[in-house]
Amino acid sequence: MLTIKCPWCGDRDLTEFAAGGEGHIARPLEPATQSDAEWGDYIYTRKNTKGIHYERWMHAQGCRRWFNAVRDTVSDEFLAFYKTGEPAPKVEGDGS
């Protein structure tokens, strides 16, 4: 079972968290000006990365804060945790 480090509460079991999928997808500021393709990209297209993945988690059974994590989807190793709004840290092995 994964251990996830909430930036506020520290290491907790996976069962306390809700997964929020890929991180750093900003909602377009002016949806009305988006083409169908752009809007479709925003709501549907995800990287499904094998390897380094920037993703969102929420400490659902704890402090209920959203935060970001960098996880290697192959090894399930978490490489970084950071608060929402903080820039994504560069991690070793990140090909993006």
């Binding site: 506020w8 509460c9 520290g10 907790r12 069962t15 059974q61 704890g62 402090c63 209920r64």
Partner: protein, 192 residues
Amino acid sequence: MVNTTFDVSKISPLDGMVPPVGGVSLREKSYVGKINLRGNVESGDFGHIVESVLGGFVPTTPNTVVHYGDLTIFWLGPDEWLIHTPEGGQGDLIDRLRAALGDTHSAVTDVSDYFVVIEMRGTDCRDVLARGCSLDFHPRSFVADQCAQSHFSHANVLIHQINDTDFDVQVRWTYAQYLWGFLAEAVENMAA
């Protein structure tokens, strides 16, 4: 005019629950006043205004508890706290907080009946909690006036260590019977 006087009664979901026999006693801490408080302590006046009403600053270290007079204040999140007041004290405190805060961005919400508090007393509390909660309650990891939100089996809980041995567990009203049943069985299993 309503020509009836009402014989107002209150109930708790734990009315009539049978306490277990074993190394830990369970008891409901009845009708604690509870206030959810939201605000930004990192900038603006919120922190100091609240401090002036509560008699001290809200805890800013995650998962800790402070006491000011008969108030107990729990860290729930970086901008969220829970205040326990004596029974019936929540209304007045809510009014005073709201009055003091005025237009300062904040939220003061009465959640007295949203939660129920179960007192666990006895030297085996840690072992009872370990039968449903994955947190580490070892004295090296969890100490008095530390609190944590987690889940005990299926119930979302706020666990507060009172002293070296005792704990309070706060749970949503609708999960209280479930939690009590689980704790009581754990106590009895341990006693066997």
